[in-house]
Amino acid sequence: MLKSLLEYLGLEKGRLQLAWLSSAEAERFVKIAKETIELVRKLGPAKKLVKKKFATERHRKTQKNNEK
């Protein structure tokens, strides 16, 4: 339901992945992890639900200082 809600609100499909896993399923874990990494790579860096304003404001300032 969480996945459905987030996708409904416009977060990229696949940004959240869920799986039933037992501690004995090592191979499946590796497979799922790899697939997820692959998927997220395709999606690129997260832009939504990332603290934007504050981080970028500071970032800009630091850049300016560096230029000086």
């Binding site: 603290k51 504050f54 981080a55 500071r58 630091t62």
Partner: protein, 350 residues
């Protein structure tokens, strides 16, 4: 008289947009804007027009002097030198256009807290000093307005740098302070008829305010009522949310919080509300205001007794926002009148 006539200017309503465009070159312009079906004060964006046919705004313009979130310190990593956000506060002058007299009164009330001989809140003061306020007379007060109960009224001008009155298709603008006068000096002078019409409206204005509360002796009486059972009665339907305090133009309690993201951090002042239990919760778990009635009591006491005792003025301006927006319709006018009706017995008088 002659001098005061010179300070009376006017502008056609449909010319206001041009004036604003002109002012925007040198000033940040804050004005009411229509959103969905309510009106909010905010900084006018590019090409955004103010909406002046409003009763009062949903939010209170106090947020332009006392922002809900305001950086007080910014830092990177651990600091070993003084850091201050003060230099960064935009020095660009601001104009608040169309602020209602009740809201201006609230700023005069807040001044006493933020700028006093004990300590000066520099952040508040800086914003205050950088802002010109153009008040806007209330031709149509709401049924929940009771500003006249607090030495104010729909055409109360104290605190305004200029004052706008809407008459027909014109705005009459009166310059009050030097800054205000200067801003409108290029406008055309109002003629005698306009000034007369304006005078007429102002004359009977106070009678147009439909609602009132009698606050005489309330502060003194409240002093004796701390232990009174009335608080439990009044607060029974309270949900404990922060609507009343966050929309209130005189509520000023705040929290200080630190926030760090990737080694960059800031310390901020955030609005806080005495209606939230966490407001007074001690680190040890001790809680001086555990119950809803204690928090409600704090809110009413703070406005109508403590503030009066500390600063000589009641911290309410009669705007009615807390009444219209409370999810369960708790009405401060009713609270005051029930306080008035309480008969103090000997046991309440310590």
């Amino acid at each position: 008289m002659k001098d005061s006539l010179n300070n009376m200017k006017y502008i056609e309503k449909n010319k206001l947009v041009e004036l604003i465009k002109e002012l925007k070159k040198d000033y940040i312009l804050i004005a009411p804007v229509k959103l969905k079906n309510f009106v909010l004060f905010r900084e006018l964006k590019e090409n955004e027009e103010p909406y002046l046919d409003f009763l009062n705004s949903r939010n209170s313009p106090k947020e332009f002097f006392f922002p809900q979130t305001e950086n007080i310190v910014e830092f990177e990593g651990i600091i070993d030198k003084r850091v201050s956000k003060l230099e960064d506060i935009k020095n660009k002058k601001r104009i608040i256009l169309g602020m209602r007299p009740c809201d201006i009164k609230s700023i005069l009330i807040l001044d006493k807290l933020f700028i006093n001989e004990d300590y000066v809140d520099n952040y508040y003061k800086r914003l205050r000093d950088n802002t010109l306020i153009f008040g806007f007379g209330c031709n149509k007060p709401r049924t929940t307005c009771f500003c006249t109960s607090f030495e104010s009224g729909p055409f109360f001008k104290e605190g305004s740098d200029g004052f706008i009155t809407a008459i027909g298709d014109k705005f009459i603008i009166e310059g009050i302070t030097e800054g205000g006068k200067k801003l409108i000096e290029k406008l055309e002078n109002a003629d005698k008829d306009m000034v007369k019409a304006k005078g007429e409206i102002e004359k009977n204005a106070n009678d147009t305010v439909p609602s009132s509360v009698k606050v005489e002796k309330i502060p003194e009486k409240l002093r004796e009522m701390f232990e009174h059972p009335i608080w439990e009665e009044i607060s029974e339907r309270c949900l404990g949310c922060g609507v009343c305090t966050y929309l209130c133009p005189t509520c000023h309690c705040f929290d200080i919080q630190d926030e760090v993201i990737n080694e960059r951090g800031r310390r901020v002042k955030n609005w806080d509300s005495c209606m939230f239990p966490i407001f007074t919760l001690h680190g040890s778990g001790h809680q001086p205001r555990e119950f809803r009635y204690q928090r409600m009591r704090q809110r009413i006491m703070h406005k109508f007794n403590y503030y009066e005792e500390n600063f000589g003025v009641i911290a309410c301006c009669g705007c009615g926002r807390c009444i219209t927006q409370c999810p369960v319709n708790i009405d401060v006018r009713e609270i005051i009148s029930s306080i008035k009706n309480v008969k103090l017995t000997i046991s309440n008088e310590k």
